[in-house]
Amino acid sequence: MNFKFTIELVQTGTKASLYTVRLEGEKQSEFDKFLSDSDITTHAEFPALLERIDNIINKHGCQDTFFKLKESRLTDAVVALWRDNIRLYCCRYGNIILILGSGGLKYTRTYQQDPKLLKSIQIMSNVSEKIDEQINNKSIKIIENKFWGNLDFTNE
């Protein structure tokens, strides 16, 4: 699946920066959709997940210990932030950059069995592929804990 999107900065911390994805034509970014999903925001562990994100950008960086790794393909940057059965799918670039997508509550054994989770992962997998291409051809660089370059993928 091929999505058109832009990458937007959410917040910069002392250890890492948070970005998110906005699909072309959509009012909300993927992370804002996650934050607006009442199934997620009423989950008992949702506040703890928010605090984890804050600790990641301001205290510990995006250390791999906090994530479920290799959630999509072995070769891409897609990981999952989780708390109980909440899944927030992201693209992780070392310990310094996290692109937050969306996700949901996981009740199935695999994400492929849940259409909502599957779509979230497909979006982030696509984001990972496009960003990797731009990093490889040096159109995007990672300097300190920020992306530098063209983060608009709506003209692909």
Binding site: P47, A48, Q63, F66, D84
Partner: protein, 120 residues
């Protein structure tokens, strides 16, 4: 000067209860510390699970900062690591309470103040 509008994330973060902040802070610090010690000692998660007698799934939750450990589990981990992962500050004790001079006078009433030289 206009203040920057807070994002939805920042607004929701402000609502996180203090006890949740404390819990996640401790879970994260413990997870990072144990992972660091395991790396230094060259131990895999599997090897460490075997050493502690814990299930790998339980250890995985601890190492990802998602477990609410009992003191018993913490002790088991510390014993297997050979290092403390939490410490409790020493309790300060004062054997002699600090009284003000007025309190001594009340207590002992009969104590006469030392003669003080007249100021001239």
């Amino acid at each position: 000067m206009n203040k920057m509008k807070k994002t939805k994330f920042q607004l929701l973060l402000q609502q996180v209860p203090p006890e949740t902040k404390k819990l996640v802070q401790k879970q994260d610090e413990i997870a990072v510390l144990i992972n660091s010690i395991l790396q230094q000692k060259g131990l895999t998660q599997k090897e460490f699970a075997k050493k502690t007698g814990m299930k790998e799934s339980q250890l995985s939750k601890i190492l990802s900062g998602n477990a609410n450990m009992t003191l018993k589990t913490i002790s088991k981990i510390e014993a297997a690591l050979g290092e403390d992962i939490i410490s409790i500050p020493a309790v300060k004790s004062t054997l002699i309470p600090q009284y003000h001079a007025a309190d001594y006078k009340k207590l002992y009433g009969l104590i006469k103040p030392h003669a003080t030289p007249e100021r001239g």
